[in-house]
């Protein structure tokens, strides 16, 4: 009486894949905003801002994503008294996570810009804000794009963890289908394939961008 893995099951998986993508995009965009803020705080001349940003990044990079998800899911409602629906709770957790990692990547990119660029921009003269906007950030962005795309891949894979709390994204959909068809040998590899189809092109893109930037910056193989 068990159903075989059929076309409708596959469509169910694709439907859940949609949620994986949506969750990843929201977390990536939200995390991007937060990450930019954190990167600016980390490179600012104000010690307090630097410490706050460092502390936040250290905290989120030093704890498992699953734990962050559990805390957001269980803890937030309890601490704030707010009723938080599943989508906001999960997207918030992944957004905070993405912000920490993107902030770290972008801080590295900003700090990779040589001191002279800052000094030259200041000599024009440009205000610190304008220095950032017109001289530093455009250059930093080019350096930051490959690792940022690389992190997007990590984020997409990371959303699979939401399945553990019952959130219906691709991995959970796979569990549900396996529960109906009892064919884990077919379903889980298909799930892996779907993630691969989503992530590998992005990984290749990141690699290609990195090579292009290395070439532009004149970084080649040492003799």
């Amino acid at each position: 009486m068990s159903r075989d893995f059929d076309w409708s099951a596959f469509l169910f998986l694709l439907g859940a894949l949609r949620w994986t993508v949506v969750l990843s995009i929201i977390a990536f965009v939200g995390g991007g905003v937060g990450g930019l803020l954190l990167a600016l705080m980390r490179t600012s001349p104000y010690r307090t801002l630097r410490w706050i940003a460092s502390g936040y990044i250290g905290l989120l990079q030093g704890t498992p994503v699953l734990m962050q998800l559990f805390l957001a899911y269980y803890g937030l409602a309890v601490l704030t008294g707010l009723r938080i629906d599943p989508w906001p709770a999960v997207t918030l957790a992944f957004t905070l996570y993405a912000a920490a990692f993107l902030g770290e990547i972008w801080r590295g990119a900003i700090q990779a810009i040589p001191r002279q660029q800052w000094e030259a921009a200041a000599a024009i003269p440009l205000s610190p804000f304008a220095q950032l906007r017109h001289v530093i950030l455009p250059q930093a962005m080019r350096i930051a794009i490959p690792p940022t795309v690389g992190f997007l891949v990590q984020l997409i894979k990371g959303t699979s963890i939401a399945s553990i709390i019952g959130f219906v994204e691709l991995t959970r959909a796979g569990q549900l289908i396996v529960n109906v068809t009892f064919q884990p040998m077919i379903v889980y590899p298909i799930i892996a394939l779907l993630y691969f189809a989503l992530c590998w092109p992005l990984s290749l893109l990141a690699l290609r961008l990195e090579r292009r930037i290395d070439a532009a910056l004149g970084i080649g193989q040492p003799a």
Binding site: T63, L66, G75, A192
Partner: protein
């Protein structure tokens, strides 16, 4: 209803949490050792092996790095039994973590190997070293030194990622925390303390790894310089 925090209950169950944390550490160290050993072989073959082997290894690395760890675990623990391959949850966790780590480590080691200046290798050739000897004496140590930070970060990621193996019932820290919070209904308190324990382990690991770096790579410097003088 105002939520009343009761951390005392967590304190009562501390021994169990520590047991779980101990398994987390053992799994992480074991997976690191196994994964690293595999990665060294694969990295060597990737740079110096025949074409078919190099492509196969590249495919292996890409598959691991572009699929979620949780799905890899499910395949090992739930799908393989259909082929007759059954293993304990802890074994499956170790295998899964090792394979996953080896994927990233192979790539990291490969970039370290390729960063060694070609002139060094040519010098080795001209001295009559075989490929194996070149790898061991000329490439390995500098490569390791270059990639050490990346490997250290990967270890911390490995340890934090081990929390996912709770889903296949391996009783490490996350699994223990889940069991305890579901029987005592003190979810927030338990997750808070478990998160703090992970943070402590992550920070502790970084400190130890930094010390190890100094011990292995920095301490020898004076000796080397004396040699070359």
């Amino acid at each position: 209803m105002k939520y009343v925090f009761q951390f005392g209950i967590v304190w009562d169950h501390l021994p169990q949490l520590l047991e779980g944390a101990w398994l987390t550490l053992r799994l992480s160290l074991g997976a690191f050792a196994l994964g690293f050993a595999v990665a060294v072989m694969l990295a060597f073959l990737r740079t110096a092996g025949p074409r078919g082997v190099r492509t196969a290894i590249a495919a292996y690395v890409e598959i691991i790095r572009n699929t979620p760890f949780l799905v890899q675990l499910f395949i090992i623990y739930f799908s393989l039994p259909a082929l007759g391959i059954r293993m304990e949850a802890i074994t499956a966790a170790l295998v899964g973590m090792s394979i996953n780590f080896s994927g990233y480590a192979t790539e990291i080691l490969r970039s370290g190997i390729e960063a060694v200046p070609k002139s060094q290798i040519e010098a080795g050739h001209s001295l009559g070293f075989t490929r194996m000897e070149i790898f061991r004496h000329i490439v390995a140590f500098p490569a390791l030194r270059t990639v050490y930070p990346a490997l250290a970060s990967q270890f911390v990621l490995l340890m934090l990622g081990s929390s996912v193996v709770a889903a296949i019932s391996a009783e490490e820290l996350t699994a223990v925390t889940n069991s305890l919070q579901s029987t005592t209904f003190r979810a927030f308190e338990f997750y808070f303390v478990a998160t703090a324990m992970y943070l402590a382990m992550a920070l502790g690991s970084r400190v130890l790894l930094n010390a190890l770096y100094w011990f292995v790579f920095e301490r020898r410097q004076p000796l080397r310089e004396a040699w070359s003088r």
